[in-house]
């Protein structure tokens, strides 16, 4: 059942499909009725491959109306059945992550479809390989080469007198969720690190994320200290933080940003966690950033989904949006990141960021702060490195700086899409140690291969490289908007102009400029040639050269 050869269906395979090799099987090919949330029932033909489900309308110019990688599916349910009156109505209700839920109906043999979908949408539960391991796409760039930690640290000028690279975690024995290569204070020995690790949740010790090129202040990330109810102290940890503080020869205190709300940090003591107290850490100043945990964020995102699907609220849009708290969360994360960036940029002090495990909120804060501080991360490759290095889930709030980023919105959306698609190995598994065990880099393709071999598609033409420019967004609700092009992109009623007319005009102008520059060069050549050959030029210049205002 599983492997009908592709050739038979070639005419149906996606025109712009780059997955061509023998890894792609058509599993199902059936006529169904699709209940479109926006336009009602549509007759269509559904195709299910081992990578995706897609549906072509049989009514209107056979448009592709659905195209979802199976990895995005989060739930499949059978619906209906034979009624007492003998009517047959069978259906499948398919719910997707991120995207809206999808409903599909099939005549009689829904069992096939249900089973196949379940198997391939949840391969691990059926001991099947994740699609990324089957994908044999070839790109002319190897995205796995993009991030080389040693090179990235070298770019930052590391190691230096105060910071060293350590291989203590080479086999992930110090901390199984940390990468193999870490940057730590020169004055801290590997033994010191081991002792500090005992006092940090999941052994996630403070390690360097970024160093300011001039004032040498640093951003350091870690997990919470294991203070507990009794208020335990650890001399090594206290000393270690002091060593970090001293690396840039600042007399001021080390600033600790605890991403959590104060109450949550206190509550964490009950489970053995906590935060750095004033008593124990004399040379540190602690601030809470009030960012909520992943559960709250997830709930909030679910509410966003509710207000945009299937209908977008009209007159109560603003209060519904407010009630999701989503933009409020974004505001808080941004505010926190601005504070981290400002502290470091002004050279006032080094910054240590943690939440509970230093996993989600910490990564958001450090990567956003780095995006503000270091223009390198605003280039395509820099951003890829940042994602690879710090893990980051969003970036569109920087839309308010349309000339500061090398990449465009499509780049961000592509990354988000493939977060769940399972087509690439980039976002598989939790940490470096598991990825290495699974040989992800050898057995899968990197998302960056797709992007970097086609960079033009992801470039922002307005990008102006400004080295050392610190970007400070304004973390006010008055500036925050829901990312309509991402969250509401499936709704045909909210259709953004693509491409953006300002961008389109600019690209036209760029082309015109290049053309003129080339002509000018030719003219220069011709005029120097004319000195030797005095024959008149064939056409009059005004004919050749339409004026700007008539040109576009």
């Amino acid at each position: 059942m599983a492997s009908a050869p592709t050739s038979k269906y070639n005419s149906h395979s996606l025109e712009n499909e780059s997955i061509k090799r023998g890894t792609f099987f058509i599993l199902i090919d059936k006529e169904v009725i699709y209940i479109c949330p926006f336009n009602g029932p549509i007759k269509g033909r559904v195709y299910i491959t081992n990578y995706r489900l897609y549906l072509r309308s049989l009514e209107t110019d056979s448009a592709l109306i659905l195209d979802v990688p199976l990895g995005v599916i989060s739930r499949i349910e059978k619906m209906g059945g034979a009624t007492s009156r003998g009517e047959n109505s069978y259906g499948l209700d398919i719910t997707c992550k991120v995207r809206d839920s999808v409903l599909s109906y099939e005549g009689h043999s829904r069992r096939d479809m249900f089973e196949i979908l379940t198997r391939y949408a949840f391969p691990l539960a059926h001991s099947l390989p994740i699609f990324a391991f089957l994908n044999e796409e070839k790109f002319n760039v190897d995205g796995w080469m993009v991030y080389n930690p040693v090179e990235e640290y070298r770019r930052q000028g590391l190691p230096n007198h105060h910071w060293r690279i350590t291989f203590i975690n080479k086999c992930y024995e110090l901390c199984d969720t940390y990468p193999a290569l870490l940057v730590v204070p020169y004055r801290a020995s590997d033994d010191d690190l081991r002792r500090v690790a005992t006092f940090r949740s999941r052994n996630r010790i403070p390690v360097l994320s970024w160093i300011h090129p001039e004032n040498k202040t640093v951003i350091v990330r870690c997990s919470q200290p294991l203070v507990g109810m009794s208020g335990k102290r650890n001399k090594d940890d206290e000393k270690y933080l002091d060593v970090i503080r001293e690396t840039n020869r600042q007399i001021s205190k080390l600033t600790i940003y605890d991403a959590r709300p104060n109450v949550n940090a206190v509550a964490n003591k009950a489970t053995g966690g906590g935060y750095e107290s004033d008593d124990a850490y004399h040379n540190a100043e602690l601030f809470f950033l009030d960012i909520h945990n992943i559960h709250v964020m997830r709930e909030s995102l679910k509410k966003v989904k509710d207000i945009v699907y299937p209908n977008v609220e009209e007159s109560h849009w603003l209060s519904s949006l407010e009630s999701t708290h989503w933009l409020e969360h974004i505001k808080l994360v941004l505010t926190g990141a601005i504070q981290v960036a400002d502290k470091v940029s002004s050279g006032k002090s080094s910054v240590l960021v943690h939440c509970s495990d230093g996993w989600d909120r910490t990564a958001q804060l450090t990567s956003l702060a780095m995006l503000m501080l270091d223009s390198y991360y605003r280039s395509i490759e820099g951003f890829e490195i940042l994602v690879q290095k710090e893990w980051i889930s969003f970036g569109h709030k920087f839309a308010s700086f349309p000339t500061a980023f090398e990449f465009n919105e499509r780049f961000l959306i592509t990354i988000l899409d493939h977060l769940y698609s399972c087509r690439f190995g980039t976002f598989l598994y939790n940490c470096e140690s598991v990825r290495e065990k699974q040989k992800v880099t050898e057995r899968t393709v990197s998302l960056w291969s797709l992007i970097n071999s086609n960079k033009d598609k992801f470039k922002n033409p307005f990008y102006t490289k400004e080295i050392n420019r610190v970007l400070y967004p304004v973390a006010s609700m008055r500036h925050l908007e829901l990312w309509v092009n991402y969250y509401i992109r499936w709704n045909p009623r909210i259709k953004q102009q693509q491409p953006n007319p300002v961008e389109q005009r600019y690209v036209e102008l760029l082309a015109l400029r290049d053309e003129y520059i080339q002509r000018l060069e030719e003219l220069q050549l011709a005029s120097s040639a004319k000195l030797s050959d005095p024959s008149p030029s064939p056409s009059s210049p005004s004919q050749m050269m339409p004026h700007v205002h008539t040109h576009f």
């Binding site: 209940i35 949330p37 009602g40 007759k43 209906g80 009517e87 259906g91 209700d93 992550k97 949550n264 509550a267 945990n293 992943i294 709250v296 299937p310 009209e314 849009w317 603003l318 209060s319 519904s320 949006l321 407010e322 409020e328 504070q339 400002d342 996993w359 889930s393 700086f401 349309p402 000339t403 769940y420 976002f427 598994y429 939790n430 307005f462 102006t464 970007l471 400070y472 304004v474 973390a475 006010s476 609700m477 008055r478 500036h479 829901l482 309509v484 009623r493 102009q497 300002v502 005009r505 102008l509 760029l510 015109l512 400029r513 003219l523 220069q524 005029s527 009059s540 210049p541 005004s542």
Partner: protein
Amino acid sequence: MLGKGVVGGGGGTKAPKPSFVSYVRPEEIHTNEKEVTEKEVTLHLLPGEQLLCEASTVLKYVQEDSCQRGIYGKLVCTDFKIAFLGDDESALDNDETQFKNKVIGENDITLHCVDQIYGVFDEKKKPLFGQLKKYPEKLIIHCKDLRVFHFGLRYTKEEEVKRIVSGIIHHTQAPKLLKRLFLFSYATAAQNNTATDPKNHTVMFDTLKDWCWELERTKGNVKYKAVSVNEGYKVSDRLPAYFVVPTPLPEEDVRCFQGRGIPIWCWSCHNGCALLKMSALPKEQDDGLLQIQKSFLDGIYKTVHRPPYEIVKTEDLSSNFLSLQDIQTAYSKFKQLFLIDNSTEFWDTDIKWFSLLESSSWLDIIRRCLKKAIEITECLEAQNMNVLLLEENASDLCCLLSSLVQVMMDPHCRTRVGFQSLVQKEWIMGGHCFLDRCNHLRQSDKEEVPVFLLFLDCVWQLAHQHPPAFDFTETYLTVLSDSLYIPIFSTFFFNSPHQKDTNMGRESQDTQSKPLNLLTVWDWSVQFEPKAQMLLKNPLYVEKPKLDKGQRKGTRFKHQRQLSLPLTQSKSSPKRGFFREETDHLIKNLLGKRISKLINSSDELQDNFREFYESWHSKPTDYHGLLLPHIEGPEIKVWAQRYLRWIPEAQILGGGRVATMSKLLEMMEEVEHLQEKIDERHHSQGALPAEAPSLLRSSARLSSLFPFALLQRHSSKPVLPTSGWKALGDEEDLAKREDEFVDLGDV
């Protein structure tokens, strides 16, 4: 630094604590009075302008980087404006100041621009009006263009405080006579100053010729005629001297009810359908009179219902649409969101911003206007019907909707000249009572309704959604809205053309000289230098390519084809109906609640309006054709440039749409420059022309609120919120949960 007392300390970098206030009251800081010196700044007076009162050693507060500074200077009040004369260095050496208004300086407030005056007494803010018993230590002026001025009077002599405060209150709040408007003193004194190009080709609609021209332009002359029955305002003082009615309509009919009950032409669509307006007949109790009215209206309807006239759809705006009261209430709530005293207030309201915005209903009113305009457009365009707008005086919502429909349907109205002509036609000649609606004479607060501003905001929504479709920029719309309060232009200072003409005429008889030469707002050179006027022109706008006569016919046809959408009949597919039946049982059986929501939404689709709206939006936009706005929740936005421009916290340096637009302008200049160079090569001329100076040159860090933005220090300090998190409510449980080890790969 002369005359500058630095009285505040910044705290923007401190971490926000709930109690943290970044705003330091200058009163709390001791200022050495000996240092208080004033640098003389001369008062610039317009022709005819007179100084009324003044006060020295006034401290003007400047908001910046979430702290406040003060500048000492003189506060004066003339019969035209309130002005602060101080040595404000911040205004110098700046890109922004190149967009300077020649009439109104940065620290000038025209008397008509004053909205509300407050006094601070023992740290308490109270509104000021009438006779005062006690004089405040601080004066706060809220302006109609949403600026907020704080003037400290602590160091001012007592008698000067009395004089300036009572002077300002009297001259801005006491009811005025029309004759006392500064407009007349100015016009008399500036009699000989003739502007270079007073109208910029704007059609004023004050002659029969102008109306004939408009009829011809829209091909309305087949079925409609311009009449001069109201010449000298013999019939009505609400109607203009010349206007347009259906050709068969007898002129006597116009006289019957002083022009009421008459369908008056606004505009003709390419398919021959017309947009008409009518003011209601007087309300009568008497049966006999009602009978007369009824038969009169019957006669009128017979005239316009007969071929060649299309079926008429009547839109009664007095009963089925927004009321003026709605608009007034909404705007007075809405504007309060922007009249912000300090940074603390900004951040305190930030968390609730969306619900505050929604509870004002201003954006919803905009949406309703846009929606109504789309409905009217659908009738004209897709249903081939005439639309008759009905309103008591046909001079408020009629003006708004007829001009909005024309902006959407007639690309000519999206050029600057076309837009200005439209405002002349529908608003000025249409008899919109600007004097009352702006409350220029302070005679009745009840009458003050920002109908014209609402129109500009609707146009802004369209322009914002379709950037290449308009010849002018949002800056143009903003300065136009500001011009409502500048009493040197006659445009917005009369209730009707009749009122304007009679007041000018009598004046001229009294002085036995030629009639007053009043300025029109359309002469932008009065307010802006040519360089600044560049910012009113949209670089993205492309004029419609002009073709020679032979080709024109063909394109006209093509243009029409593009405009006209398939009729609704052919569009609604019978297949869907059949199909619906087929799937009905499926839907009922299978899909309980969850899907019923979806099915309802597709029922709505049957609606003509939806069909028209969605069909238009699913096609690529022709910027020279019909233009419809998006009206979904997220698409209606706050016109940041107009409403947020004076709030330092609201701007993003080097950000916003301004950033891409300035890149675009730079590139345009570069291309033009290259083109010149190539041309020169061909003409073998040696010397290169000097590079044209650009307003936007080296503009990487322009404010997102360019060219306004008060904060001009281009600080590198980030702006940080000072207020915390709102209660989470039902999410409290989740908030307490432990973080978990989450793999995004299998969420």
